[in-house]
Amino acid sequence: MNTDLLIVGGGPAGLNAAYKAASNGVKTTVIDKWFTLGGQLKQQTQFYNNLPHHFSKQRGFQLADHLVDRLKALDVWILENHTMIGAYQDGNVGVTDGSDTFPVNAEKIMITTGAMEEPEIFPGWTLPGVMTAGAAQILINRERVLPGERALILGSNDFALEVASQLHDCGIKVKGIVESGSELLCQNDELAVKMRDADIPVLLNSVIESATGKGEVEEVYVSTDGSKSLYDVDLICIAKGMTPILEPFEIMSCDFTYQAKLGGWLPRYDSTFKTTNPSVYIAGNAAGITSMGGILLTGEMAALSVLQALNATSSEKIEKEKQYLWDELYRIESTENRSVRDARLDVIKDLHYETGVQLPAYLDSVFGGLING
């Protein structure tokens, strides 16, 4: 099959990009390996109050519905339950629907496959009852199944506390947040307050020494500054952060770079969100772990770059729009995760430095001293 733009991954970045591209007349196809679009946003019940100005504040699953619904009026081809599994010699993407595998010939490909949760191991981590925080969240918010009764959360970032709070709201007794460092990683004060109000203790300088049980987690030893205490829990949620999914980019022969602040290894990309493969664009968490605002904005910016590359709309208009989006990204990432903002800029600068292509002037004005500093 043929399309102008193939978007791999129908989460918030891909959906927002599809909207932008299709509403400017680009023949757009979105594939997603799951049966429904929305990605991980589908089970986010929390309220997002730091979104770009052109989005209203809302809960995650509502935002997912909004992103999907507004595509309905547009000429976007949506292929659910379709997975990118490889590439052909000529660079076409290979897609399977479970019964056939076929090439998709696209002018441009945007990969928005997001990120995956980082595991952490300890003796007993393979027991049933140990899962990632994201998995626990899918169980409670999507499957409507309680993953346990008494839980420990391993990790103390925003997502760890968010899930702790959601578990608590479902009636699960959260017996502690286990953090190996000497301070809470969560930047969201509201969540920290919620932990206190809910009587959920934060165990700093602590690690899970072991989990044991007959066929599932029953007892967990937590070591705090060398002293051990026993927890009677049947659920351990691991929330040690996320790392960009790399596989589709490797298949498309994109180069990678390492940026700890963006989640580790990730594809290299420039200020247009183009990777080192000139046909392949990137957005969302795949381009570095960020906030929901960052995910939406990078999707939109990458789509604008595709429009530009396909000469689909006036370049002047696009540049103006991009400037607004960069301003928004700067605003949101400056309040939420400055280190992500700076690391992203490093990735972009690095590739521009190598290719000798000048950074657009508006990036200079947005980032000011950061560009040359």
Partner: protein, 108 residues
Amino acid sequence: MDKSTIVCRCEEINIDEIESAINMGAHTFNDIKRLTRCGMGPCQAKCCMNLVRQIISDKTEQPLSEIKPLRMRVPLGVTRMGALAGNQASSVASVFGESAEEGEPDHE
């Protein structure tokens, strides 16, 4: 940590086995994988990728930024042979036909 702690669930490879491969001289995930089968199972190292990179970093004292991801392979996700073969007509490749003439079958 207890060296018998599993790192790769798919192939049930523990810390000790990975460290043994490193002791034999393997310093990349790809090389450790071929010695131990760590990361070779159904999930194709989706879970153990960064766990193994961390162990390599600890043992060889290289920063994580120097330790590359392993080579990621087609198909991305387990795929049924029939789906891979697709709906096209088959083209039988007779190994016999070719090799009998050339005396050179492949893949040995």
